[in-house]
């Protein structure tokens, strides 16, 4: 990857993380851990891959993103705000009464949100429907679906996995955020969805693994995904829950807890230092 572009993406991803902290701190609730683990992915998709128009969010031929792990909405909102779908000041109103930013994504209320999600396992089915629609009408948009590794415990995910392979939905790319943690603990201890790659392969998907926090590797994975035809692609991204904020990293307690004032200040300090380092 071009080093200038890479640096720019890292800067943006850092700002996206700051938005996550800002939003969940002001909401006094929300899910920072899993939001931080997909910040780089969302940045790459919205800034490199996806054909979207902030002035025309409903543009029919746009690429679509379904955040099947809808509780990580703060990351999606933050990247949409960075991109200019709405003003950044909205982030501070996350989860407040009357806010356009609901606790989980609401496609009818927030510009740039392509599907209403939040109840786990459902987004991937909707993404299949969008991809199928593209096939029916011979359109060439792509559909990206982001799932949690814990989410794979939902049976509906595997109904959808069967469906996507059966209808050869090669315009669908599902990214599994494999941070290894869910609310009750390690995914391998709660009710293990592993081996994730083998499962998707046996369901007829082309599977790629990638480092979720390295833009060179992210680009390699998506370049490879683009070459696949005839079957859906699953990218299993190895990620760190809470990535970017030292005291949140790999801590299951940060799945669904907002930072208090002191933690907020500490997190923002760390992220601004990272930003300074990148920009400096």
């Amino acid at each position: 990857m071009d080093q200038m572009i890479k640096k720019q993406l890292e800067v943006t991803a850092c700002k996206v993380r700051m938005g996550v902290i800002e939003a969940t701190y002001n909401a006094k609730s929300g899910h920072p851990g899993g939001s931080l683990s997909i910040a780089d992915l969302l940045t790459y998709l919205y800034y490199v891959k996806m054909n979207v128009d902030v002035k025309n969010p409903d543009m029919h031929e746009r690429d679509r993103l379904v955040l099947s792990k809808g509780h990580c909405a703060p990351a999606l909102y933050s990247v949409l705000a960075q991109k200019g779908f709405f003003d950044e000041s909205e982030l501070k109103k996350l989860r407040h009464i009357g806010s356009m930013l609901q606790g989980h994504p609401d496609m009818k209320g927030t510009p740039g949100v392509d599907m209403t999600t939040g109840s786990l396992g459902q987004g991937i089915s909707a993404a299949c429907g969008m991809a199928l629609s593209g096939k029916i009408s011979n359109e060439d948009y792509k559909v990206y679906a982001i799932l949690g590794d814990g989410e794979l415990e939902e049976g509906q995910v595997w109904e959808a996995a069967m469906f996507a392979a059966h209808y050869n939905l090669d315009n669908l790319i599902a990214i599994i955020d494999n941070n290894g943690l869910q609310i009750d603990g390690k995914v391998t201890e709660v009710c293990s969805p592993e081996p994730i790659t083998d499962k998707f392969e046996s369901f007829g998907w082309y599977v790629i693994t990638m480092d979720a926090h390295n833009f060179d590797d992210i680009e390699r994975a998506f370049d490879e995904a683009e070459k696949i035809s005839g079957k859906p692609v699953a990218i299993v991204q190895k990620s760190i829950k809470g990535k970017g904020v030292s005291f949140m990293e790999n801590q299951v307690s940060w799945h669904g807890q907002a930072p208090n004032e002191e933690q907020y200040k500490q997190a923002m300090l760390e992220l601004s230092e990272q930003l300074k380092g990148l920009e400096g």
Partner: protein, 315 residues
């Protein structure tokens, strides 16, 4: 006298989909391995490229329908009522109802008239479940003519629609001048002593019952409520005020269905006695459909008896 022609509304559903396909090019059909039973097979045969079998996976089918609708297609997601409203309830609520997506749910094999398959497949709860979803339109057609008109009305309506069809062949009693108006009840017979409000395959039974009641000098009004949500409040209130007694009839639980919907309106806006005929908080069982309907009191004989009883109780 001409012979009564009978047809199951599921058959009308399959035929209507096929008939409407050319006119509405965005119409697509999904099924969950029941195309032969839901009659979407009729559509599949004519338009194989617009039919998608989802396999025995109703949750995913509803989600796929949501995705299709979000991109401008008009998907009809079809399976038995038990699985459409029951098994997939939460997907219908969250992926279709909450974002108010333009998905049409074609639910067949509703009620005890499923027959021999028994309780696991006899859905008496679907109207109740669907009624609780904000913005959901619920249509229960009473015969072939109404069913076909309802399918087109569903296509023309922007938003989620739950269509409830039956397995059993029932009389076609509406005539060719029939006009379907979403959300409007139909006054089939005027009357001043009592109003029988019916839906689905009970409408024909209600009409028959009303005819026989005339012999005993009971002048019953009959209203067909094909759209349970949004409910036609005006026609219900007028009936409550003018006849003072309403008997509801539905092939559904007395909890949460047509009877409840009517009672909600009557108690709030036009208090009058409401008597409910339906499945009384119990599961069904196996047997021939027509015998089951009789056993559950979903027949003209029981309507006549309940009407007489209710009139006597009021006096």
């Amino acid at each position: 006298m001409s012979e009564i022609v009978k047809k199951a509304t599921r058959e009308s559903y399959g035929e209507a989909l096929k008939e409407l396909a050319e006119k509405y090019e965005n119409l697509v059909v999904l099924d969950a391995d029941l195309a032969a039973a839901t009659k979407t097979g009729i559509f599949k045969k004519a338009y194989p490229d617009r039919f998608f079998n989802c396999g025995i996976a109703e949750a995913n089918m509803m989600g796929v329908a949501a995705g299709l609708a979000s991109t401008g297609k008009i998907p009809f997601a079809s399976t038995f009522a038990m699985f459409a409203a029951g098994r997939a309830f939460e997907i219908v609520r969250n992926s279709i109802g909450y974002p108010h997506l333009n998905v049409k749910i074609g639910a067949t094999h509703a009620g005890v008239s499923v027959g021999e398959d028994g309780a696991t497949h006899q859905c008496n709860e679907d109207i109740a479940l669907m009624r609780t979803i904000p913005g959901m339109t619920i249509i229960v057609p009473s015969d072939d003519i109404e069913a076909k008109a309802a399918v087109e009305a569903a296509v023309l309506h922007d938003g989620p629609v739950y269509l409830r069809f039956g397995r059993l062949a029932t009389p076609i009693f509406n005539n060719n001048n029939y006009k379907f108006e979403l959300g409007k009840g139909i006054l089939l017979k005027d009357g001043k002593d009592v109003t029988i409000v019916a839906t689905g395959l009970m409408v024909c039974e209600a009409l028959e019952a009303a005819k026989e009641l005339e012999k005993d000098n009971i002048n019953a009004r009959v209203i067909n409520i094909h759209t349970i949500k949004p409910l036609d409040k005006d026609i219900i209130c007028k009936a409550a005020e003018e006849t003072g007694l309403i008997v509801t009839v539905e092939e559904h639980s007395v909890i949460g269905g047509l009877g409840s919907a009517v009672a909600e309106v009557v108690t709030e806006y036009c208090p009058a006695k409401v008597v409910k005929i339906g499945v009384n908080d119990e599961f069904g069982y196996s047997g021939p459909a027509t015998e089951l309907l009789k056993a559950f009191g979903l027949c003209k004989e029981n309507i006549i008896e309940k009407v007489k009883q209710s009139i006597n109780n009021i006096k």
